[in-house]
Symmetry: C2
Subunit: 190 residues, 2 copies
């Protein structure tokens, strides 16, 4: 069942025969995380790419002040990893943890590299997922530099219409860089 | 001569036969820019990817204050475009201009898309260049949020040892977000 969603996602992007798709899927392992369990901890090198089949995860980093800053969310259907750590093989500057019971399909970097060689059409998948990751980080960077918390809130609602059903308010406030009280105010007067 | 450097660059990343490489190269046009001429202007949609064979270019954006902020540089051997504008087909939030006489080989987005179909190995080139772009923007974002002008200066010297031979001081100061006088001070006491 979980693998069906992964296969559909891959088929949307590139062509694999059913046989190839079965071999590719076999390289993914199922990982179940309970609430507050980690997929990746700050300081570890990210040596995987994961596909979320159920649940919600957050990316966050620990600031010098000791506070946590939520930098991103991931929901069912999203791909999850720390690309900077994975591509540069450096320690991750952030952690990724489940904020509710979650299920993921995880492929290790070395198996992915092997796929690029064995199934050249994996390159298309890799290229398009990197383009999507680039678009996301570029938009986040511009937003952080230029737009208000209220505009970021509206943008978030547009990108993730059901985020308030899935993510506790304090994580969203933290992501927007504002106090939970301010977020409640913005929600009343968007 | 210019095309030789492009071909070597492509061969470093992926396999093309000489015949394929010739067909691929034929899709690139030579563009010569004089000092202060634009490759891309803010507000235009970036519909190309370019490879610098000679010269120096800067990326910059016009701030609300009316000042220009240099966000990146490009030298011979670098690929140049505004990926966010190109991939999302949206107006570019920044301009790219030559700060000395420069030569580029430019491929239009639609020809590149066509290459992905005709020569699947182009996907590998696309994937790896996107990974490099991702690594660059991710590092810049973290740097902007976390490290001092002095550390950014040292990092720049490490990444581009001859930047002071190629780029006038005021652009570098602008990129580092400091006054030219402060940069002179840092250079004396790195």
């Amino acid at each position: 069942m979980n693998f069906d969603r992964l296969k559909s996602e891959i088929k949307l992007i590139t062509f694999f025969s059913e046989e190839e798709l079965a071999s590719l899927s076999a390289l993914f392992s199922e990982v179940n995380l309970k609430k507050n369990e980690f997929l990746l901890k700050e300081g570890q090198v990210c040596n995987f790419v994961a596909f979320v089949t159920k649940g919600t995860l957050i990316y966050y980093k620990l600031l010098d002040s000791g506070k946590e800053l939520t930098t991103d969310f991931a929901f069912a259907g999203d791909w999850v990893c720390n690309n900077q750590s994975r591509l540069c093989k450096i320690s991750s500057a952030l952690s990724i943890k489940a904020i509710e019971e979650s299920q993921l399909l995880v492929i290790r970097t070395e198996d992915l590299e092997d796929c690029y060689k064995r199934y050249p059409q994996t390159e298309r998948l890799g290229r398009i997922l990197m383009e999507q990751s680039f678009i996301k980080i570029a938009a986040q960077t511009v937003d952080l530099q230029t737009i208000s918390a209220s505009d970021r809130y509206n943008k978030m609602l547009r990108d993730y219409p059901d985020v308030f059903q899935k993510v506790p308010l304090h994580y969203i406030a933290n992501y927007l860089g504002i106090a939970p009280k301010s977020l409640s105010r913005i929600r009343k007067n968007p």
